[in-house]
Symmetry: C2
Subunit: 206 residues, 2 copies
DNA sequence: CTAGAATTCAAACGATCGTTCCATGCAGTA
DNA sequence: TACTGCATGGAACGATCGTTTGAATTCTAG
């Protein structure tokens, strides 16, 4: 399935991402992963140490760039003389949406992300918190600035719903068929508009 | 953990629900389930035939009554001279929200439900479709009536986001602490209002 | 009370899990 | 050419998986 001219590590990561998306972290075995990647079984423990560490690296590979893109987009949005809620949401949604429509595996990763949400795995949450909590913090601050009428507890509560909804929606993006005669870029823009409009309306409501 | 004066089947279902919520369907073994239920390992295959059938029965036990309550609430809402979007959403959300705040295991089941959403398991989806598609149909018809300005494709698209968002939100309800000095019933009502307001705003937006 | 059905039990089945070991292949260096 | 390092190979480790078996036990109807 995977071309042999990529490195062993990369092919393992690609196969792991795809199989974790389809069968979950516990449901996909290292034998399935290495068979799909066409590498030896022992290669996983040689290159990654353990299955759990492989899971972490699957996340790190995508989240490093994804969160950089998000922070860059947020910084751009904050430079606007008067930025609004939609600008903050756009900075959060659009990079992930682009990833979810990526052809070389990114779509699978967003489904892995949705699984991680549902898992509530303690070690996985610790890993994500240790590595990416600064991103969440900056966005919470920006949301608080754009939604001054919400107290902190109410804001957290609504952001929790929004992030869950967005993750779920983006994970299903591969399933939803786009209208005939519409390019993929158009479809992505339309989807982003819907998501942002939807989330903004919910956040502002009340 | 489980009182021994309940039937073997019921104790297995209780333990399975709790462990599936915490570790997933593949992650929770039948040995963990039967140990927690304090029954013999073979009891699962004796009473349920297989692990997969046990999973189905975990869903059936809660969804039978949950969907009955939803349909009853929807029928009541439709009797109103002019029902609105919020009434339909209320009929959908409130029974599930009550379950998610139930003390005897219902809270765990909603997390199981969120997992099923993320799983995209084919056999599980078939089971849910075979048993409860008529409920979804009635709600879609009611939503279409309350949102006449949305075409069918747009409605499906938004309902997909809404149901995913609501499931995620309700699954996390156990985590969110209620304000001090507020009764649980008050907290549930407040949460229902927030969810409905949030979902309604998103559905009506644009 | 007893025969027969229903249930529980300990034990084991083969399969598969993550992990480990050690030999082998293959660079680049002295 | 011999040595050294990393990388890969096949094979096996002990543990655990879902499932099955057959005997022991409990329940129930006549």
């Amino acid at each position: 399935m995977n071309a042999p001219h990529f490195s062993t590590k990369q092919r393992i990561l690609d196969s792991a991402e795809s199989l974790f998306a389809r069968h979950g972290f516990a449901g996909a075995s290292l034998r399935q992963v290495t068979a799909s990647a066409q590498v030896n079984l022992a290669a996983v423990n040689y290159h990654f140490g353990s299955k759990e560490n492989l899971i972490n690296e699957v996340f790190r590979r995508r989240l490093d760039t994804l969160n950089e893109e998000r922070l860059a987009a947020l910084a751009t949005a904050l430079k606007k003389p008067q930025f609004g809620l939609e600008d903050v949401l756009d900075a959060f949604v659009r990079p992930a949406l682009a990833l979810s429509m990526d052809h070389d595996g990114g779509a699978g990763f967003v489904r892995v992300l949705a699984r991680a949400f549902a898992e509530h795995n303690e070690r996985l949450r610790k890993f994500l918190h240790d590595n990416y909590s600064h991103v969440l913090k900056q966005f919470v601050a920006a949301f608080a600035q754009a939604l001054p009428h919400l107290d902190k507890q109410e804001l957290y509560w609504r952001l929790d719903i929004v992030s869950g909804a967005l993750t779920y929606a983006m994970a299903d993006f591969g399933v939803i068929k786009r209208r005939p005669g519409m390019s993929e870029a158009q479809h992505r823009n339309l989807a982003a508009e819907h998501l942002i409009k939807f989330a903004a309306a919910g956040l502002k409501a009340g």
